[in-house]
């Protein structure tokens, strides 16, 4: 599972930047030019890029937790191998993105500590529960499907190290998505019980998938730094629409019903009805759909979601349990053999 990098930052302005350099920089980026770490960049660009990479990295390693819970329960040898590899990839993506962020000026330890103490955030969709194997299938299909759409555009961004990483990540994300598609199709061509498992999980994950792309666009979206400097190349709403256009008809073709659901505080569905707005709009060529519950979205982002505490507790446990190991091999590095 991977994540969108919708980081809210207020870049006050670039008042301190040399106006001539800034003009050259902005033109370079506007014309499709790329920026490398040692090139001149406005401080605000560096800050924003650091936060974006850090948020993305945080999301990867927190995203590894809900799926990681199911590795030991995967129901076939192939699924067990694939799910382990997928979660491993997520850790790998986190590692590579922390490297990108680190080069922009923040150590990995500082980032890991800020994550577990709640100073920095990770993607909201990982605060929802993953109570069945069906959720594993839907996460891989929907959330990784959403991530591919998003990261496909991020790979056309302006910061060299980030887009190099994004290209590598997308290659692995394609495996996650295909594997997810395979699992969903397997359930939907299986027994009635399996279809129910899939539908229940789909009901839990459709909304977080729509919200995955972040809140609705602001009127000045394209003027904000992330887009002006080509860190993002598509708006949240554009990506969300693209996602619905692709996944709504596919889900229905498999026999899944797209519902608008009410959930309780633990993230479980308490009532549902088929999305009344869902249809292909002949005029626009887009699928119309009901917006996700944005009030709930912002509540979960503020920390009051079904799983926020569990995710951070597990991440913290891992960090604290590993402390003696990191210390030991660092201390021993000078004395231990380097050529065993």
């Amino acid at each position: 599972m991977s994540a969108s990098a919708n980081v809210e930052v207020n870049i006050k302005d670039c008042a301190n930047a040399d106006p001539e350099k800034l003009a050259v920089f902005e033109q370079h980026v506007a014309e499709g030019g790329l920026v490398e770490p040692n090139d001149w960049m406005p401080e605000a660009y560096r800050t924003l890029m650091l936060r974006m990479a850090e948020h993305h990295a945080n999301s990867e390693i927190v995203g590894a937790l809900p799926e990681g819970e199911w590795i030991t329960r995967a129901p076939s040898l192939l699924r067990k191998l694939a799910l382990t590899a997928k979660v491993q990839d997520e850790v790998g993506h986190g590692q590579m993105l922390y490297e990108v962020a680190q080069d922009l000026g923040k150590t990995r330890n500082a980032m890991l500590r800020d994550l577990i103490t709640g100073v920095t955030k990770y993607h909201n969709c990982f605060n929802y529960p993953c109570p069945t194997w069906g959720d594993i299938c839907m996460i891989a299909w929907l959330i990784d499907g959403a991530a591919i759409l998003n990261q496909g555009t991020l790979a056309h961004g302006s910061f060299g190290p980030y887009i190099r990483t994004m290209r590598r990540i997308n290659m692995e994300e394609a495996f996650h998505f295909k594997h997810g598609e395979d699992m969903v199709l397997t359930l939907m061509s299986g027994t009635d019980k399996q279809k129910q498992l899939a539908q229940d999980a789909f009901d839990r994950w459709w909304d977080p998938s729509l919200a995955f792309f972040g809140p609705n666009d602001r009127p000045d979206e394209r003027e904000r730094p992330a887009m002006r400097w080509r860190m993002k190349t598509a708006t949240n709403n554009e990506l969300r629409q693209k996602f619905v256009n692709r996944f709504a008809p596919a889900a229905m073709a498999t026999g899944l019903v797209i519902n608008v659901c009410k959930k309780d505080a633990s993230g479980m569905v308490i009532s549902k009805e088929p999305d009344p707005l869902l249809k292909l709009n002949e005029e626009t060529g887009n699928w119309d759909f009901t917006q996700p519950d944005w009030d709930e979205f912002f509540r979960v982002i503020r920390g009051d979601g079904p799983c926020n505490k569990d995710r951070l507790a597990l991440r913290r446990f891992s960090y604290e349990q590993g402390e003696w190991v990191r210390r030991a091999i660092l201390d021993g590095a000078t004395t231990a053999p380097s050529d065993h």
Binding site: G68, I71, T84, Q95, Q321, P337, H340
Partner: protein, 256 residues
Amino acid sequence: MQELDQQFHNPIVNVLLCVADDKLFLGHKNSDWTGLAPILEADIAFSSLSQDDIAHASAFYELIQTITGQNPDQIAFSRNANEYLCADIVTKDDSFNWANAIARQFYCNVYEYYRLQRLSTASWTPLASLAKRIFAEQVIHVDHVTSWIKHLGKGSGDSNSRMQQALDTYAPFASMLFEAPEGIETLFEGKIISDDGCMFTEWKEHVDQVTNEAGLKATVAPVSGVGGRRGSHGAEFKESLCELQEVFSTDPLAAW
């Protein structure tokens, strides 16, 4: 494929299950670390090794399939507890203590190294060739865990004592790796596989050499009693098996 005389079928299946079940459950326990290991890079590496083990288990189940006709997932997921032939060390819980995971990995990996070496000389060629191929990867596993033992043993007083404690905790279970599977004498007599009477000695020497160099000690007695190789398992194995079968057993006939 080279035909195997009927009288050897059950004994060879037992031997193959010992390897496959050890690998499956070691991989199963280690894969649970994915996302939680002490260092991101170490996490990725350890997960990679756990995938190897599960893939190796699959390959051995496939070889069993050539004899019994059962498909690998059915073999891996649908037996009763007393039909699994792994040694219980592979499912001995590590409580997410890295020293425990490394101690378990060390004892098991070095054992597997010698077992695969032995099986590579089997006169039944399908087994010999599979063991030989897997052995090439087992070498990486042994190198990897050896590095960890050495670095943690020599790292600091604290890491040395944590590592020592873990080696001590797992030592009694390590002995049981060497328990003989049922019918193995038939395979020795029929010259299908060579007698591994000295495997414990070889393994012990290897383990001692590494631990000595790391400033650690492995106190492992020779095997005694009845255990996993004969299907007799403790509570921790059964917990792991429950987890393994949780989803599968909701509908064992369904495709997943």
